[in-house]
Symmetry: C2
Amino acid sequence: MSQKLFVSAQEVAEKAGVSRSAVSRTFTSGASVSPKTRQKVLDAAEALGYHVNHLARGLMRNESGIVCLIVSEIGTPYRSSLIRALTQQLQNSGKISMLINTDRSDGSVDLALRQAIRYRADASIILSGLPDKSITDLCLKNGQRLVLINRDDDREGPLSINLDDADAAARVATAFVRAGCRKLAFANSQAGTPSLMARERGFVAAAKALGLDVIVERFGHTGYESGRVVAQQLLTRKDRPDAVFCATDLLACGFMDAARHQFSMSIPDQICVAGFDDIEQAAWSSYQLTTFAQPVDMIAREAVSWLVGDSAQPEHHSVRLHADLVWRSSIRGG
Amino acid sequence: MSQKLFVSAQEVAEKAGVSRSAVSRTFTSGASVSPKTRQKVLDAAEALGYHVNHLARGLMRNESGIVCLIVSEIGTPYRSSLIRALTQQLQNSGKISMLINTDRSDGSVDLALRQAIRYRADASIILSGLPDKSITDLCLKNGQRLVLINRDDDREGPLSINLDDADAAARVATAFVRAGCRKLAFANSQAGTPSLMARERGFVAAAKALGLDVIVERFGHTGYESGRVVAQQLLTRKDRPDAVFCATDLLACGFMDAARHQFSMSIPDQICVAGFDDIEQAAWSSYQLTTFAQPVDMIAREAVSWLVGDSAQPEHHSVRLHADLVWRSSIRGG
DNA sequence: CTCGCTTTTGCAAGCGTGTGCAAATGCTGC
DNA sequence: GCAGCATTTGCACACGCTTGCAAAAGCGAG
């Protein structure tokens, strides 16, 4: 087809009647170039359809402008909304995001990271997998900045962004008690993610402080189906709970559907339910789920502003954000 | 911090006692290098933590290995599942995906594409925005391969992947009639996307062939809320429809929720509903929506296999895939 | 051992860009 | 016009890699 392929700065320079450095400087912000030549270059570039080669630029500057998003379960509502926010913010800051999917085998995160390193990504943001020491090491050793979201890793070097999971869990416990519930339960997956475990521990602790025990049930992955299974397990007990805090909204949706359609229970009259994440579905009128809003935009802003910031900033390597309680009708009262 | 930053092939060569070319050849598949030196190189590389610089490689080979995903509404269930499938397939083929979010202003797709070109992406996959001639031109002129998904563009050059929307719509019409419905409606957004319009036209045409008129109602974006609004509009009519085909599952979910909770209607007894996409939520027991499954994995496989294929293949520049009908209980009978 | 052949190796050029340095240019005030 | 200064420009090298080409090495047969 088109043999010419790309037009180089050289050709632009010739057409504009200037040196190649002038072209380079025109497209480098902060470089010294007179308005006259600048315009000549811009005209020539426009006419020829010139685009700076970011591969070459990255090679020279030792800074690719690439940020790597390492994420599993991309299709999940919460994850995809976070990805949306992150890509948005990154683009606003002139960065570009590489997306790495770690859904498959175990070593895939490692493989993915290695890929990121080969492209000399300036940074990586991990929203996936458990905090593996070797992985963060690999990143840092290769001069990448690293952001861990909801991983609760307090190693030196990376920025970790977390929510006040335990505090949120305590607020739910209080709300349940205020609604007159006495038999509390916690529905979790078996993923064992730090944030999920923090919610579980926080809920159990808060309940204990209120003089109540908590039935904890865990099953499978963190998804709708697991919510149904956990409902099956919890609602067939002799001491059926009258309030259940689900570790995520997806679990809550599954739980609610099973409770209603399989056990013919009324929410919140017979059982109160709360979730976490505030995914879009939580607001749907079939659920009207009381839950905690993940401040995705703020998370993204924190992450990106730290990434693009100047190198010297050992101030706060750990950020804990607040999750607002979104009150809907899956808990009595309010 | 670490001043050394990255280790180059030069250093590996010195450590291994071979020439730089030997190192290069070791990491280039199909290059001529003896097993002995190859092993020496691999050992040295491992010891030093060497990673091929893909920026430089891309510069030389005129092939970056980058594929650009240009997408709006990333957080949407269908879109995010397609992204998942695409990234998966691309990684399997040794490509890496750049994600560009075009949620914001109008010219953003153009901006995004320009960004892709700067990084010399080998190809772009567009799942967003309307088929703008200038955009595809920009891609093709810069030697990128282009895949359009659900855009129904039949220009020369790009591969376009579409579904048999019209045929699917006809199948729904038949199912509705078979269920005894007589007053058909179509719920759409105002997005005007080719695939949405194809479903609408197909449905109207099929109904006409069956001797029935269709009430078409359109509103806003293609999301849950619009489904509610359209329900409001359709269900307050004197000639209230008894079957409605929603252009997407999200619309259908909104419609069903409004029909049930706001109009106290029973589905499918009083009204039959069908959707399109088969998002995860369609299978949730609150909806049990009869819908058409987007063959996302097949779409991804088609797209990627075409992208990585050898340059000479003017065979089929347009692929039309079949959407399977997933029968659930939102239509009577079955 | 030497010849002819195949495989492996090193050299060096080149990909498109950024940038330090010195030369050139423009501008101001006498 | 000229000196003095600030600004702009061009040259040339560097970044880390691939690859054509020719020299070197291996290898089997005579």
